[in-house]
């Protein structure tokens, strides 16, 4: 993997490294040549790793005190908040940590969309990332059910009922998921089990995601292939580690602001009411990070149609590398795509907003317009713009200004000739 052979200094280290090359791996990770022009949007990978580890560590401690039983779960959460030493801190870090995790992952995904990081040769990194994102949504949903408040219960009821839209076998599948004839104690039990499992699956996928990243190396804001190592790159350590650390600390300040000063603002007050199967909340809403998909789901008058569309909204991202026909990666050199990118950002934010509003009147109209545009962006805009767009001149390397020409013909020149 590494560009130069790593030779351990001591005999013992060499003996060990010959048998398990952990030291070679460590050397690779520290030397890993990274484009020197990465901006702060590239620091979210490290931030996300921090989020995952934080969720796992706080989650393991919470699981030591939590009781996954329909009659005891709500009380056990209050026990954590009141009687466990710093239980309130651990739980608030965990619950706000989920939101911070999604905030970071959305920035990470949109960064990839802007700079074309999903394009060849990074398709597998992108697909692994989407699988992580899917598992994150599942884990977050499962976790939100565990406190067994009103939103836990009714959110679980709404989401599991989506499967009943499947023709013929839908009802049976839903009953199988519940382990009962409604969301009940068996449901809570299995949700807890799966909520504990998923973060470790995510961790495994993260390892693959980073492994796949280290094959072609990082994309960069200019979006061109660079020679590694070269004057366009810096070693990962200390350059990127210190920069990631700085960005992470800024992120942690915001995180701490939520945890210590407004820990419940991202949650729903109804979830402090114990679950009651006989009383439906007036307004069932998912957590903020799922709202755009909720808006898409509700924009269709037919239940099955809504479910299909919602899942399509996620799965269409898996074929994104093949929908985008442009050979130029970075939106910096794509004047038309750049504008559509920002329209997509606004569209998703709008879908999130209407997802929190009642599905009626103007909100329903907006949800439908937003949904149609979302799909248009991927199915029509991306392929067509990629073919028709006149891209701006691309620099030959990160260090050199635009089109001065390098000693050797780079991919950039070839690309410019093509477009």
């Amino acid at each position: 993997m590494s560009d130069h052979e790593y030779i351990p200094k001591s005999k013992a280290a060499k003996w060990f490294n010959d048998r398990l090359p952990l030291l070679t791996l460590g050397a690779h990770l520290t030397d890993y040549p990274t484009p020197k022009n990465l901006n702060y949007w590239w620091t979210f990978g490290g931030i996300l790793t921090f989020c995952l580890i934080t969720q796992i560590v706080t989650g393991i401690v919470l699981a030591m005190h939590y009781v996954a039983h329909a009659d005891l779960a709500f009380g056990s959460v209050e026990h954590i908040m009141r009687n466990v030493n710093y239980g309130w801190l651990i739980r608030y870090i965990h619950s706000n940590g989920a939101s911070m995790f999604f905030l970071a992952v959305y920035i990470h995904i949109f960064r990839s969309l802007f700079y074309g990081s999903y394009k060849s040769p990074r398709e597998i990194i992108w697909i692994l990332g989407l699988m992580i994102y899917l598992l994150m949504m599942a884990a977050a949903f499962l976790g939100y059910v565990l406190p067994w408040g009103q939103m836990s219960f009714w959110g679980a009821t709404v989401i599991t009922n989506l499967f009943s839209a499947i023709p013929l076998v839908g009802e049976s599948i839903t009953t199988w998921l519940w382990g009962a004839y409604s969301v009940d104690n068996p449901t809570l039990n299995r949700f807890f089990s799966l909520h504990y499992l998923f973060p470790f699956l995510i961790l495994g996928l993260v390892v693959l995601h980073i492994w796949a990243l280290h094959i072609p190396g990082n994309n960069n804001p200019v979006g061109i292939d660079i020679k590694k190592p070269s004057k366009d790159t810096v070693p990962f350590h200390p350059y990127i580690t210190i920069k990631d650390a700085f960005a992470l600390l800024v992120f942690m300040i915001i995180f701490a602001g939520f945890v210590f000063f407004t820990p419940n603002v991202l949650g729903h007050s109804d979830n402090y009411i114990p679950a009651n199967p006989l009383v439906t909340p007036a307004h069932i809403v998912p957590e903020w990070y799922l709202l755009p998909f909720y808006a898409i789901l509700r924009s269709v008058p037919d239940k099955l149609g809504g479910v299909i569309l919602m899942f399509s909204a996620i799965f269409i991202l898996f074929v994104l590398p093949w929908l985008d026909t442009s050979k130029v990666r970075s939106a910096v050199f794509r004047p038309i795509y750049r504008q559509f990118f920002w329209i997509l950002v606004v569209d998703v934010l709008m879908l999130g907003y209407v997802g929190a509003m009642p599905a009626e009147g103007v909100y329903l109209v907006l949800a439908r317009v937003g949904t149609i545009y979302y799909f248009l962006h991927f199915i029509v805009v991306l392929p067509v713009v990629g073919l028709l767009e006149k891209t701006d001149p691309i620099p030959m390397s990160i260090s050199e200004p635009v089109m001065t020409g390098g000693a050797e013909p780079s991919l950039a020149r070839k690309l410019n000739e093509k477009v």
Binding site: K36, N37, G75, E78, H79, M81, R82, W88, L89, Y92, T157, V158, N161, S164, Y181, S182, V234, P238, Y239, I242, K243, A245, F246, L249, V250, M252, I253, A256, G257, V259, F260, F261, P263, N264, S269, D270, Y272, I273, P274, P277, T280, A282, H283, I284, L297, R298, P301, K303, G306, M357, P358, A359, E360, S399
Partner: protein, 260 residues
């Protein structure tokens, strides 16, 4: 069971297609109160917490449980901070069911600080039956469980009015302008001079409502003062560390020709 399941499904589908927003129902925005526990360094007013506990004990506790609190909490720092002797006396004033004893019998004894708050009714159903079918909610986390929090609870307590003309109320239903739908099954239990405060404060309705709301805000978030204090320290620490890391980053990156 199957029948119940189907009806739930129908409810869900209906919800999907036409969710009626909570806030479309008639209700007035809660009164904004300048609580001492608001803000980054907010703390509870100790005297108000003690008076609020008195209101809870003498008025609310005949219907509302607070099952997640223990009497010992009343003496803990950040709360009403009753003295150890006072907490013992408060706990002892309640009859607690304990057991079974060696004969297999349940028995009652005076409460201890480690006991949970005694509930006025043995279960939810009994509580509902004694209150015209409406279960008086457990108040342990009530402030966190209502949109608007402390402002909302206070507003409901002072929001009782005669119904406007044209509004008819059933037996046991009262008009309250801050309640969702303006109808509430809890009667107005506060009236001026209802309580003789131990500290001599005049017990106006407004005073009692503020005191008991403060008490409930603490009950819902007993960690609030410690959380605020720790938060200030954590953020100051993070800002200092961020500054140092920023300077180190600038120094390290000065070796290459790229701005960071």
């Amino acid at each position: 069971m199957k029948k119940f399941n189907l009806s739930i499904n129908k409810i869900i589908i209906l919800l999907f297609l036409s969710i009626k927003p909570l806030y479309s129902a008639e209700m007035t925005d809660p009164i904004k109160v300048d609580w001492s526990f608001k803000g980054l360094t907010g703390t509870f007013d100790r005297a108000s917490l003690q008076r609020g506990f008195q209101v809870y004990k003498e008025v609310c506790s005949s219907c509302h449980s607070m099952q997640y609190l223990s009497y010992r909490n009343l003496g803990e720092s950040g709360g009403p901070e009753f003295t150890e002797a006072e907490v013992k006396a408060i706990a002892a004033s309640f009859e607690v069911t304990d057991g079974p004893d060696s004969q297999g019998e349940m028995f009652t004894r005076p409460g201890r600080p480690s006991d949970m708050f005694v509930s006025p009714h043995p279960n939810k159903e009994a509580a509902a039956a004694a209150n015209g079918g409406a279960y008086p909610p457990d108040m342990s986390v009530l402030v966190k469980a209502r949109k608007g929090g402390a402002n909302y609870i206070y507003s409901v307590l002072v929001g009782y009015e005669d119904p406007p003309p044209g509004v008819t109320l059933d037996q046991g239903v009262y008009y309250n302008k801050y309640m969702i739908g303006n109808k509430i099954k809890m009667p107005n239990n506060l009236e001026d001079g209802l309580i003789e405060y131990a500290d001599g404060t005049v017990s106006t309705v407004d005073q009692m409502a503020k005191d008991v709301t403060t008490f409930l805000a603490w009950a819902a978030e007993p960690e609030l003062e410690e959380r605020h204090r720790t938060g200030v320290k954590v953020i100051i620490y993070l800002i200092l560390l961020t500054t140092l890391v920023y300077l180190s980053m600038k120094k390290i990156w000065s070796r290459v020709d790229t701005e960071v």
